[in-house]
């Protein structure tokens, strides 16, 4: 029973990381029809940013790394959007392959710059260890990651609900043409979505340095699961992404605990397929009146 409870913070932190990654994916997919396989490399960029800052700043580099990684990954996303992706709007399958090509190049670039072996980021002292609450061991780093994700989701939620930019973004997700007709500069909204989504992936990268090593393939490890969150959660919806990330995070955490890592992945996949049998609506495009 105690072991079961101790798995809780692990599942929660897996969910938190998945959510940070999936937010960008679900919005770029929902809003622009872009399936960004290079999103995983923004995670890697964030993680390497933390690694570099550790050398430059030392001790409390983590807190510096969060905003810097957001900016670096965000700007990289912006660059990708501006240079390539905007030519491919509405062609999701082509963007998938295109961005996968980009992802290969970025990974090799990381290998050339930082070397193929993994590097380690040392967590600050206040994130080492944990506390016991009602007999449940809460490791500090897992709690921190969960809180970080919660804060980011809260931020994104507020952005969407309160700020004019966020409202414009929601408008474009719901109906691009109508939004354009009502005078919204959709191009600018697209770019800010990309900046936000890629930036969050960078933050996720920093968070991941707290639980594991950093390597050029870091992104590929998480991108598939994050896409499953998008599939299960439905398009461009914050609430869907949160629920799906929680479900998949806990499923991953507990299945790995009960069976083992290799069987867990298969079972998660089966669970997603089973879920689609009950609720495909989340992911099927709304049916219009004409079939044009």
């Amino acid at each position: 029973m105690a072991a079961l409870a101790n798995q809780l913070p692990i599942g929660l932190s897996i969910a938190a990381v998945l959510l940070l990654i999936a937010l960008g994916l679900t919005f770029t997919f929902g809003q622009m029809g872009v399936v960004n396989m290079a999103h995983g490399e923004f995670i890697m960029v964030g993680a390497y940013t933390a690694y570099l800052l550790q050398g430059a700043v030392g001790g409390q580099s983590l807190l510096v790394a969060l905003p810097v990684a957001f900016a670096v990954a965000g700007l990289l996303g912006l660059l990708l959007e501006w240079s390539l992706i905007r030519r491919f709007y509405g062609r999701p399958l082509d963007t998938l392959l295109l961005t996968w090509g980009v992802s290969l190049v970025l990974q090799q670039l990381a290998r050339d710059v930082f070397g193929a072996p993994n590097v380690q980021v040392t967590a600050p002292a206040w994130l080492v260890g944990g506390v016991d609450v009602l007999g449940v061991r809460l490791p500090h780093n897992r709690v921190f990651i969960t809180a970080l994700a919660a804060l980011c989701v809260l931020g994104v939620g507020l952005y969407l609900a309160k700020l004019p930019q966020g409202r414009r973004m929601r408008a474009v997700v719901q109906n691009r043409e109508l939004a354009a007709c009502s005078g919204i500069a959709t191009g600018r909204v697209d770019r800010s979505t990309f900046l936000l989504g890629s930036g969050l992936a960078g933050v996720a990268g920093v968070a991941l340095t707290l639980v594991g090593p950093v390597g050029p393939g870091l992104g590929t490890f998480y991108i598939v699961d994050a896409f499953l969150v998008v599939v299960a959660g439905g398009l461009g919806r914050l609430r869907g992404a949160v629920l799906a990330a929680l479900a998949l995070g806990f499923l991953n955490g507990y299945l790995e605990f009960w069976t083992d890592a290799s069987l867990a992945k298969v079972l998660v996949f089966v669970a997603v397929i089973a879920f689609l049998q009950i609720r495909p609506q989340g992911m099927v495009a709304l049916r219009g009146r004409s079939l044009g």
Partner: protein, 249 residues
């Protein structure tokens, strides 16, 4: 007369808005029925429900005594109900013949589907003739004009030998000439088929309609001959009177 289509108490709700609110409709064998009503009256929604595209919240649709509600689209077609769409949807990369051949082959077993088409079947040739597309038979359907696409779609319906045809605004966006030809086509088809036509165009209605059903705000407002419907003050109020300008164009 033998009722082919019986719609009873049909109710469709979109996000709390009742697009259809208790619609009853009976279409008899061999009838040519026009379905009219102002925008948002629920005409297309009605066709969508009959063909399985939209699920109703309540009510039943019986075709030849068989309940259609709950059947998937291709099952409905296989029972003998065919439809066209407001924006004609044809397969642009396939030739006109292949479009028709595909429509005609829907009852073929997989084994026959895996064979190549040899020549043009009599049925497809006849449909080419009826649709006036014989000269364009081998061109990709993508080169067809808007009117020609509608005729191709109607041709695709005919080779399927449906017992009930549902045409959704067949003359929308057509030139006067094209409307004439479509009307002629419709008259010919109606001789041998049961047809329901959704239409906005009042001139077209007056020329070709026999029985008319007027929908308004998701309910049946009036049913009768063209003359009866036109004389009904309620119909005038909700439909004819208000949109005369648009209707006469």
């Amino acid at each position: 007369m033998n009722p082919v289509l019986e719609v009873r108490g049909l109710r469709v709700v979109f996000d709390g808005f009742a697009a259809l609110d208790g619609v009853d409709l009976t279409v008899a064998e061999g009838e040519l029925r026009f379905l009219i009503g102002p925008n948002g009256a629920g005409k297309t929604t009605l066709i969508d429900v009959i063909t399985g595209l939209t699920r109703p919240a309540a009510g039943s649709v019986r075709f030849d005594g068989v309940e259609l509600v709950g059947l998937r689209e291709h099952r409905v077609v296989r029972l003998g109900v065919g439809r066209t769409f407001q924006t004609a949807a044809v397969f642009e990369e396939l030739s006109v013949v292949d479009n028709l051949d595909l429509a005609a082959g829907f009852r073929l077993p997989l084994r026959s589907l895996l064979r190549r088409r040899r020549g043009i079947s009599d049925e497809v040739a006849a449909a080419l003739e009826t649709a006036g597309l014989t000269a364009l038979a081998d061109r990709p359907a993508g080169v067809l004009s808007h009117g020609q696409r509608q005729w191709l779609e109607i041709g695709m319906l005919l080779v399927q030998r449906p017992r009930l045809l549902l045409l959704d605004e067949p003359v929308a966006g057509m030139s006067r000439d094209e409307r004439e030809r479509t009307g002629g086509l419709l008259e010919r088809i109606a001789r041998t088929h049961t047809v329901v036509v959704v239409e906005h165009d009042m001139e077209f209605l007056r020329r070709y309609a026999r029985e008319v059903t007027v929908l308004h705000q998701g309910r049946v407002l009036r049913e009768g001959s063209v003359a009866e419907v036109q004389d009904d003050p309620r119909v005038r109020e909700v439909y004819l009177g208000r949109s005369k300008g648009e209707a006469v164009t």
